[in-house]
């Protein structure tokens, strides 16, 4: 039943067929047989089981799954923050090993350095790169404007709201011009109103800048609204069980959440997600 749905959506679809062909030429980052086993005294825990994924250049892909399915572990492995037990992740034909500036990351927790102003935070990565100050100034100004916080450039993080902090965190990562932007439930701690605004803000940033984004969330609506494609994960062990394309208007407003197509995709993912869960998790 589940497999049938997946086929219907991704493989027999004409557009999907074209995508597969395109991927061969424009693949940005992909994983082959990515596995993570946590060793413990009693028994080993298989957190991520033989996961394959592929993200195209300039693509916005979300990964949804129930809590504890290992989606955070997966993105941390991509970011080089967690060890890969077996398999490999390849970015631009290079096998990844450890973290680097080529994969910027935005976390669920607030990670702005509290002793630096907004401006200094955005400049952090550029300083490490030893970019000339004038060049860095231009980039900092550009991203401050993009997130609409130019007048807060001299503020300290403890003077900002949660949504503002996350916007600065996004700007800080993007200013570094990463090959891939990894986002680990960045809006998970925000209230629904702020969250909706942030989704809109992020989508607009993506439409302008076209960074390649991998976005982790447990919120299906958020995943569908933001991305071009959604990977669905099951838990224990964490596996990718579906790859759902999102054919919605390129320019997205919050109204799109009420359209039949949006609701259809959301429901479809929901069904897949539930079929992948054990009885006791439902």
């Amino acid at each position: 039943m589940m497999l049938f749905k997946k086929k219907q959506e991704t493989i027999t679809d004409d557009k999907a067929g074209n995508r597969l062909e395109a991927r061969v030429s424009r693949s940005k980052i992909y994983g082959k047989g990515v596995t993570r086993i946590y060793k413990s005294k009693k028994h080993d825990i298989l957190a991520i089981d033989n996961v394959d994924f592929e993200i195209l250049d300039n693509e916005f892909v979300s990964i949804v799954g129930p809590s504890g399915c290992g989606k955070s572990t997966l993105i941390r492995m991509i970011g080089g923050l967690d060890d890969i037990t077996s398999g490999s992740i390849i970015l631009n034909d290079r096998i990844l090993d450890g973290p680097g500036a080529d994969r910027g990351m935005v976390f669920q927790t607030y990670t702005l350095f509290p002793w630096m102003t907004v401006e200094e935070n955005i400049r952090f990565g550029l300083k490490i790169k030893k970019m000339p100050v004038k060049e860095a100034d231009k980039i900092v100004d550009k991203y401050l404007e993009l997130i609409g916080l130019t007048q807060f450039r001299k503020s300290l993080p403890n003077q900002l709201s949660g949504g503002m902090k996350q916007r600065v965190a996004i700007a800080r990562s993007l200013a570094n011009n990463p090959e891939v932007l990894l986002m680990d439930e960045p809006f998970g701690a925000l209230d629904p109103q702020t969250k909706a605004n942030m989704q809109l803000c992020l989508r607009q940033i993506w439409q302008v800048e076209k960074p390649t984004i991998i976005f982790i969330t447990h919120d299906i609506e958020e995943a569908v609204f933001l991305s071009q494609r959604v990977y669905v994960m099951s838990s224990r062990p964490g596996r990718i069980i579906a790859d759902i394309p999102v054919y919605l208007d390129h320019k997205r407003t919050l109204d799109i959440k009420d359209t039949p197509e949006f609701i259809r995709i959301r429901k479809n993912i929901n069904t897949i997600l539930h079929s992948g869960l054990d009885e006791d998790e439902l």
């Binding site: 941390r76 970011g79 973290p99 990351m105 509290p114 952090f124 490490i128 990463p178």
Partner: protein, 264 residues
Amino acid sequence: MNNLFRIRKSIDPKLYFKITLSSFIILIIIWQALCSFKIVNGIFLSSPFEVLKFLVNDITTGSIWENLYISCYRIFMGFLYAAVIGVPIGILVGSFNVFEAYIQPVMEFMRYLPVPAFIPLIMIWVGIGEGAKIAVIFLGTLFQLIPMVADDVRSVPEDYINAAYTLGAKRIGVLFKVMIPAMLPRMMDSLRMMMGWAWTYLVVAELVAANSGLGYTILKAQRYLKTPAIFSGILVIGLLGLIIDRSFGLISKRLFPWAEGGIK
């Protein structure tokens, strides 16, 4: 009245201040009463008035300053050596598992060795000069400071470190540009607590082996049963401790306006 005793609710700041003030006033009144009504023998407890008189006399004749200076010098030197050696070791222990495995267990053991018991040994090692007092304060604070600084480093949120890595920082950069700046306010707090320990060990050192300093004046006063002198000595040490403690708080607030919570 009902509003006065609500669990974990603040009361009016003015009222708070009045209550604090009354606490001191009542303490002094009880103290004075105990002496005035001869409830306690004057040899055991001098009246606040007598203590104050003694203290004023001490300040005006100037005999207090010399002792004050030498005590402060000992504290400062002992504390400085402990900080200069303890802080870097603490940072290494808190950052690198290897250093933790090597240093932490030994440190935990040393922490429980009573420093006063080392005084005879210290005298054999460094004599009875200034070095001995500084060594007592140094040993007393060092082994407390290292685990505290290590904990301060460990308290830096993991995601600050991860964020720095994904922004291109290498290990050295993460350590110096993120972990150390992030831990500074907490470290100031640890140093402040160490200062309290240092005062305690100062008095220990001066009671056992000295012929100057605030602790020594207390000891000398005891020999001649000059109770007001003992009380004024204790009072001065307490006040100085309080002043230094508050200064740490103020400096911290000025240096780290970004820190939430922390030192108040």
